[in-house]
Symmetry: C2
Subunit: 476 residues, 2 copies
Amino acid sequence: MLQSKTVTGRTNRFLAGKQSTFAVALAMMVSVVPAQSARAETIGPNVSHFTLNNGLELVVVPDHRVPVLTHMIWYKVGSADEPPGKSGIAHFLEHLMFKGTAKSPAGLFSQTLATIGGQENAFTATDYTAFFQRVSREHLATVMAFEADRMTGLILNDDNVRPELSVVLEEWNMRVGNSPDARLGEQMTAALYVNHPYEKPVIGWHHEIEKLDREDALAFYRRFYTPNNAVVVVTGDVTAEEVKKVAEQTYGAVKPRADIAPRVRPQEPEPSAIRQVTVADPRVAQPTLERSYLVPCYRTAKPGEGEALDVLAHILGSGSTSRLYRFLVAERGLATNAAAYYSGTSFDPTRFGVSVTPQPNVTLPQLETDLDQVIAEIAEKGVTPEELTRAKSRMIADAVYAQDNQATLARWYGAALTTGATIDDVRAWPDRIRAVTADAVRDAAQTWLQKQRSVTGYLVKEWPHVEPPKSPEKHS
Amino acid sequence: MLQSKTVTGRTNRFLAGKQSTFAVALAMMVSVVPAQSARAETIGPNVSHFTLNNGLELVVVPDHRVPVLTHMIWYKVGSADEPPGKSGIAHFLEHLMFKGTAKSPAGLFSQTLATIGGQENAFTATDYTAFFQRVSREHLATVMAFEADRMTGLILNDDNVRPELSVVLEEWNMRVGNSPDARLGEQMTAALYVNHPYEKPVIGWHHEIEKLDREDALAFYRRFYTPNNAVVVVTGDVTAEEVKKVAEQTYGAVKPRADIAPRVRPQEPEPSAIRQVTVADPRVAQPTLERSYLVPCYRTAKPGEGEALDVLAHILGSGSTSRLYRFLVAERGLATNAAAYYSGTSFDPTRFGVSVTPQPNVTLPQLETDLDQVIAEIAEKGVTPEELTRAKSRMIADAVYAQDNQATLARWYGAALTTGATIDDVRAWPDRIRAVTADAVRDAAQTWLQKQRSVTGYLVKEWPHVEPPKSPEKHS
């Protein structure tokens, strides 16, 4: 279900299957993760953060092990910033950003990258749209020049916009139309949010995508694509001085072209109903059950609460020692799989998710009863000291290992800075996780994992069939 | 549940209880009803319809039996036209319309009406906001002068806006906060609509109402309160010539102050999930079950389809000879009450609703199984010729009798003309109902009463309680 809330990538490179989607989403959404920590001295990057005169923020994380760099530009605009009725325009514009400028005809940027052995991609989420390149270290200026050029220089006309709309609609077919999982996710998201624009799919509603045009794209582009609404993150074999110099020569020449208003979106009322959503599709081989709770994100949580939710998700549903796995899979034999996650890196209140796959002979209502018991138990009785210690150690270690990947590191900073967090928030994350107490975890479960804050989704093979009453002659 | 979709009145006059809400809603929403029909010759009103130079539409329905008239002004703006994040502004502005102008200080209009023995009221719905007065025939010019004056002359300042916000919040407490029924309705509406602004409560979300201010109200007022966005309906002891003359002298002087764009709102995707919503409240004495299906309104339906849905609602759930009543109440003894309705008078797709109240010893799941059977039966086997004839005769007769009431008649025209229907649509309604065939009713049930187009709401006394597993020592 994660992809509908999180990331719609331009190509399939990041989305080769459910597993990889989940992994990407984890890296991007689940945690704002450390650049420096007590356990990370050897790779502890020396992060620099500065702002150009035109308002463009830059983050540089040097890593000199190999002579490559990852360059990402993050715009603080996503599907939750779209005008009503124009769902999908953020993602469509992401595609259109490859259509060329006066200086750089369509395809030149990508061809250049191919020639120099670079990689590229782009993705759109609820709160941000990002473009990235991985190139060898000497090509920083090339990449920055291309990105700076298309920040405000994009040329769109019906000849390049209309064919791309077909591409996006085909992407919808592949990612949503042909994916019962995605359909369930779309419906659950729509039910979880009753007022906030997170209720829309990132890729958009099909009937609205169909009607998007050049004017919509240009209006959105002019409003949000401006240096004062972007963050550039460079990780790899660079220094802050070098990046600053090249950035000033390239991005520095782009004039701000829009005032950026504070990001104020319609907010959710206090959730107050147990919601259930059933989606049937003949292609469903194995039913699944998903649960989403509306919970605070890191930005809106009280101090320590986001961290407690992160730890709670880990204890509840990460790995074979987690509560859900032990009870539902190992002990009761009801499920083949069980997981939980917390999408804390979000600008506005977010979801705490649980998903379970039943054994073939187990019904979803049976499984749900036991799932509810596991959640009730953790909310009533809390977690043990051993669980807490193990979870925290593992989470911090995972983060430390994960930053070994340049792109992951760049994503942490980009996602954090475009959802209201700071460099220091990212750095202090391990310490904040270490400070989580067992009481805080229990309180988080009690406060936030209430069923009236949740939507439960059932993915099944067939719609329920209802027979007319046995004695129809009486009623006709 | 109807009030959340339909009408939020300024006072309680129309909303003394659930029954009266239902009756008003029926009169307003369920049917676009005839001014003339074969069976209504004796009271068949001679309707006139004309437009002033400033764009104001007028409808006159003479009725000379008593020397009184009903004057209503309908603005083509309702809660579905509100900007994102400003829910409740349409209703709040309705309240503020009583705050006075330069010519007419606050209270003068109401005092004048009281002095001349008149009545007044106002209400807001998803598609319109209306103000009405009932006065003796000689006061037409007085009423029109006051209404014309406040169409563009309203004076708002913090001193009169802030106290009224408290009044509206108190109204919210009374109508929503203290009404479990209304809470269920709000949640069901939010779940039924995933993209269209009908998803919001007409009265607004409490957290957004709280923040409404003078600027919001004035911006909304200036955009929508203009003669070219209004319809005046006068019924009673008047002639069209007289109304036209007075209207030109009063309303005719009001300049259009805004261009009115076509009413294009974000539309719903094709519904594709069975949704269920449970609301618990300790004040619930008797659980109830509600079902809403997303269906076309008269404006968006194919020819004959809205009429078939109207007849279907009647056969399914109107009175003690209806399918639901006979099966669930009389035969099976499962319910104490059962009803169905179709809210066809709506600008955008609307709901087909069913509500049932179980006997004290019957659970909601038991009742739902039988409810589903009744619906499956009508969808599979259709209706009998006797049922069809009885329903059509009754519906047409009800409409003919109901137009005996001036205010009802004025409401039919006002609601019709502000939701995309024409005078002729209203007039031809009985003929269109007469033309409905048994096949059309069955087809309507088959096409539209599919569970994946619906939300089922359960109103119960307590949230389900979940016990932790019996052997907690194993899992902690």
